[in-house]
């Protein structure tokens, strides 16, 4: 049995500053050592599945999600994320700890993204031609198919080989979406409507790869994938600044005073997005440390995934480091 703890145990330390959250781990300020890894559960993804809106919405936005769950669960998630000092829910895009989204839910997410991209392709948006849209749809379909296969593999008598095969196919798709993101971020225009689905697709490929490898009990490989993904995130997102994005999206056909006002608003808006991207980058950077710990403790990847996926009592847990 994996000895998870509830985050409340760490709340006082986080409030008084003796503990500090970095990415998805908690460190002791006096010794500099890791005391625990934050881990989302199946409940988190179920709660956030009902959330419609930007992946970079403020934490408070969680309070407005679907009524299918007990208010207590939503309040618990909201409070825990506040205690852990997350500025927005951006980090959920990549998963807090190992992603507990599960393949079936990943597919639901991908379908929603495909719908929003289809809508975009019917509008004229800079950097988003019909040809481009067709290409993206093609790759979306591939990822959706792979994630579906990963879910179906549970029914096989020995699914490990399938998960390994799916993982390498996802590597190709991950590389495609990384290239698309990199290209899009170099254009001199920025639209969250295009950026968000590209980001989520890239993240889905990576989290699904890690999940497949863990299910196949190949945690060493999962750790390497996670470490490379972290490097990709740093390469893609570190150069972005709120100031540059604000200036790219300014409407300059207005008076000087209106520009100043507009700039201030845009800086605030893009600061929230960049903050979310920084949380995502930090979360990806700390994931290999968690996987390393699982290896050290001999925790089986499949057991870990199934334990967090099946937890429906707590949205976030802490894996203490002994």
């Amino acid at each position: 049995m994996i000895p998870f703890e509830i985050p409340l145990k760490y709340a006082q330390g986080l409030i008084d500053g003796s503990l500090l959250r970095i990415g998805t781990l908690i460190k002791d300020q006096s010794t500099g050592r890791i005391v625990g890894h934050i881990q989302e559960t199946g409940l988190t993804s179920k709660l956030l599945e009902g959330f419609v809106g930007s992946p970079f919405s403020p934490i408070q936005a969680i309070s407005g999600i679907g009524a299918n769950f007990q208010l207590a669960h939503i309040t618990n998630l909201l409070n825990t994320m506040k205690i852990l000092q997350y500025a927005n829910i951006g980090v959920s895009v990549v998963g807090i700890g190992v992603s507990a989204v599960g393949f079936a839910m990943m597919n639901n997410k991908l379908n929603k993204m495909q719908d929003s991209l289809n809508k975009l392709s019917s509008e004229v948006i800079i950097g988003f031609s019909e040809l481009h849209s067709t290409l993206l749809r093609e790759h979306f379909s591939k990822v959706t198919g792979l994630v579906e296969q990963a879910e179906q593999a549970y029914q096989l008598s020995s699914p490990e080989r399938s998960w390994l095969k799916i993982s390498s196919s996802l590597a190709e798709e991950s590389s495609f979406f990384r290239g698309e993101l990199g290209h899009y971020l170099k254009l001199n225009s920025f639209s969250e409507d295009i950026f968000s689905p590209l980001l989520q697709s890239f993240m889905t490929c990576s989290t699904a790869r890690v999940e497949c490898l863990m299910l196949a009990s190949e945690i060493e490989s999962a750790k390497d994938v996670a470490a490379n993904h972290a490097k990709d995130c740093r390469y893609l997102f570190e150069p972005l600044t709120p100031s540059a994005l604000a200036n790219q999206t300014l409407n300059i056909e207005v008076s000087d005073s209106e520009i100043s006002h507009q700039l201030a608003q845009k800086n605030e808006h893009f600061s929230l997005i960049i903050n979310g991207l920084r949380d995502i980058t930090d979360a990806t950077s700390t994931k290999p440390i968690l996987l390393d710990y699982l290896i050290e403790k001999g925790i089986d990847g499949r057991e870990y995934i199934e334990t967090i996926n099946s937890n429906e009592n707590e949205p976030l847990l802490i894996l203490p480091v002994s």
């Binding site: 500099g32 800086n267 930090d282 700390t286």
Partner: protein, 230 residues
């Protein structure tokens, strides 16, 4: 290196990267939101000078007027640059110092995770090498400082000097339309300096871009020095 040391170092690296990125983003926004109020001060000084000098004197001594306007601009650039970059540089040094302390406190010696094969102190020097303040700005003359940061004097296009800024004086009956002509001059002065501060030219970056570039390059130098192998 032991696993505990490796983990500590990874955490320090992740924290340092985040701190430096947050510092960079905050400074860039600060420049955007505060440069305008500094610019207002400059315009007030330029306008006061032209107004106090008088229309007739401005007309007869335009070279002197232009030189003095540029002098006011140089002093303003010096102060503005120091305001934005010097304080930012100090904050950067504090982040670097904190990193040094953490590395020394939590990891075994000689295991610093810097790409440069050196001690952190030298590494910090590399990060801020682009800063004129690191060259001892306190002793640099106004003109020297101005040159050191790559800001050139505002170039008044000949056509503008002859035709636009001062042409209103020589066209018709300036005594009658004295106030209007003075306003025209002031308007043109404002525009020329506004362009120098906010508008990039093909071969010349404006001051805002230069300030941004300084912050960006300091952050990049720092980030490049941190080993990104987690």
């Amino acid at each position: 290196m032991s696993k505990i040391n490796r983990d500590c170092l990874s955490i320090i690296n992740i924290s340092s990267r985040r701190e430096i990125l947050d510092w960079r983003d905050e400074k860039l926004i600060y420049i955007d939101t505060h440069l305008n109020s500094h610019f207002t001060t400059l315009i007030y000084k330029l306008e006061s000078y032209v107004t106090s000098y008088g229309l007739t004197n401005t007309f007869t001594n335009k070279d002197k007027v232009l030189a003095e306007l540029d002098n006011i601009y140089r002093v303003w650039v010096d102060n503005t640059y120091k305001h934005f970059i010097e304080s930012a540089g100090k904050q950067l040094m504090a982040i670097a110092d904190k990193r040094d302390v953490n590395v020394n406190k939590y990891t075994e010696k000689n295991n610093f995770s810097f790409k440069f094969n050196s001690t952190p102190g030298i590494y910090v020097g590399v990060a801020i090498a682009s800063l004129p303040i690191a060259m001892g700005a306190a002793t640099i003359s106004v003109g020297g400082f101005f040159g050191a940061i790559g800001v050139t004097a505002v170039s008044w296009p000949l056509a503008l000097v002859g035709a636009t800024v001062f042409s209103t004086i020589s066209v018709t009956g300036w005594k009658v339309k004295k106030q209007k002509k003075l306003n025209d001059i002031l308007k043109n002065v404002r525009q020329v300096y506004k362009d120098a501060i906010y508008k990039d030219q093909p071969n010349c970056e404006c001051l805002r871009t230069k300030l941004h570039s300084e912050i960006l390059s300091m952050a990049t130098n720092f980030l490049e020095g941190i080993d990104d192998t987690i």
